[in-house]
Point group: C2
Chain length 253, copies 2
């Protein structure tokens, strides 16, 4: 976080939307890397070690390039994150032919969960506005609203429904064990090993603090091991209840 850098929306948008496809063979020396390689290297790093580990130095090092050379291809770290995000979202496979709106929403919810599971750092990168900046994200949003269009709802209602499902998916992936460590949550851990070690050391202390006497209801659920994994079953449970509620509400109106 150095000085201020006047950001240039046009530049990153051109990169994202491919308007910058340099057909010109250029004139200078041969580029040692491609934008694609940089994005991929960054993604690999973030996948493996989390967002904190993604520094320009390390990306450059991984590519065998000087740090500053990256700035030839990418305006800065932030913009690299945006590009990585768009690539991580990728193209959106359509729902099965003839799917109901509910099946379609479920389909897209699972795509979202796949994204957050495979690339936990996306949870920390995806600001509200990024949806409109990233072409792949925009396309996915359009697909969601396409699935809702036949219902003939108001724009507000469509936004409320899509927003609710999206909110659930994000929250479920972030709060759950989808990624204990590298979810970009600033727990302060850099390493999965660190995390494990911390907990094995902390557990004896916690056992004395979180007692059955003080927190009887929580303790009962904990004891039963119900916190072990917020897995697929839990994800589906909440999603289906939310969709149930939406369906019921639409029928009743």
């Amino acid at each position: 976080m150095a000085e201020r850098k006047r950001p240039d929306p046009g530049r990153v948008l051109a990169l994202l939307w491919g308007t910058a496809t340099t057909p010109t063979p250029a004139r200078g020396p041969r580029p040692k890397v491609t934008l694609d390689q940089i994005i991929r290297a960054g993604t690999d790093l973030a996948d493996a070690e989390g967002l904190d580990a993604l520094s320009m130095r390390r990306v450059a090092e991984r590519l065998g390039v000087g740090t500053m050379s990256l700035y030839t291809y990418v305006p800065g770290r932030t913009e690299l994150l945006h590009l990585m995000y768009d690539r991580a979202v990728g193209p959106t496979p359509p729902p099965p032919q003839g799917a109901t709106w509910r099946q379609a929403l479920r389909h897209y919810a699972r795509l979202g969960r796949d994204l957050y599971r495979d690339h936990p750092w996306t949870l920390s990168v995806a600001t509200p506005g990024l949806m409109l900046m990233s072409p792949n994200s925009t396309a996915r949003a359009d697909a969601v609203y396409a699935a809702l269009a036949p219902l003939g709802l108001s724009a507000e209602q469509q936004a409320a429904i899509a927003g609710s499902v999206d909110a659930y998916v994000r929250g479920a992936c972030q709060g759950s064990g989808v990624s204990l460590t590298s979810a970009g949550l600033d727990g302060g851990f850099t390493d999965t090993d660190d995390y494990e070690r911390w907990w094995t050391e902390a557990t004896p202390h916690l056992i004395e603090l979180v007692t059955r006497e003080r927190f009887p209801h929580l303790y009962a659920v904990w004891e039963a091991g119900a916190f072990e994994d917020f897995g697929d079953a839990s994800f589906d449970y909440g999603l289906d209840r939310l969709l149930d509620g939406i369906e019921r509400h639409l029928d009743g109106t």
Copy 2:
């Protein structure tokens, strides 16, 4: 992100759970600040400028103390964040007398939203495990399960219900405009002004990219201004649908 620091779970847990209440009048010079002041200063800073702005230097500066003095009271930045989080959660007011499980869950959901709205940085601090570390958070979780206890559900079902609602609340607050900037989302913006300026500059470009022809369904919803604010109404909509779905599911079983 310096070298590795071997974390000491006992230390921060003692701070969090108040086991460290130094009854000893101590022997050295008078402390210039208290742990409480540090936590409060950090919270003020994070509230005003986001997590990125919360550096040990700036906290110390705000208190008129040398940077390293903070380490007398707090093991490190991470632990300070944990303490700030616990304080931000605070005590949990009980739901109204005689509230149904549904009313109680709604009550706790709104408490969560209040937390994330008033202190957006908590969204980035709250790791799954932190719930058990923070006494206030633990107490709140216990209250939630207390509300579910009369239903006689299995531990797994209770966890699925509580987890779903929590997931929705978190996702809704993070994805929404609850905090455009300082939600700790690493959008790369440090300032609300930056954010505004960026969008005013980016909008003309976006208008050319996100067209009605390419994204007809999304465009229709956007055009109607349905993205302007994911406000209270939207939050309540999704929450109520989720609770509807849970209620229906419990009745049907």
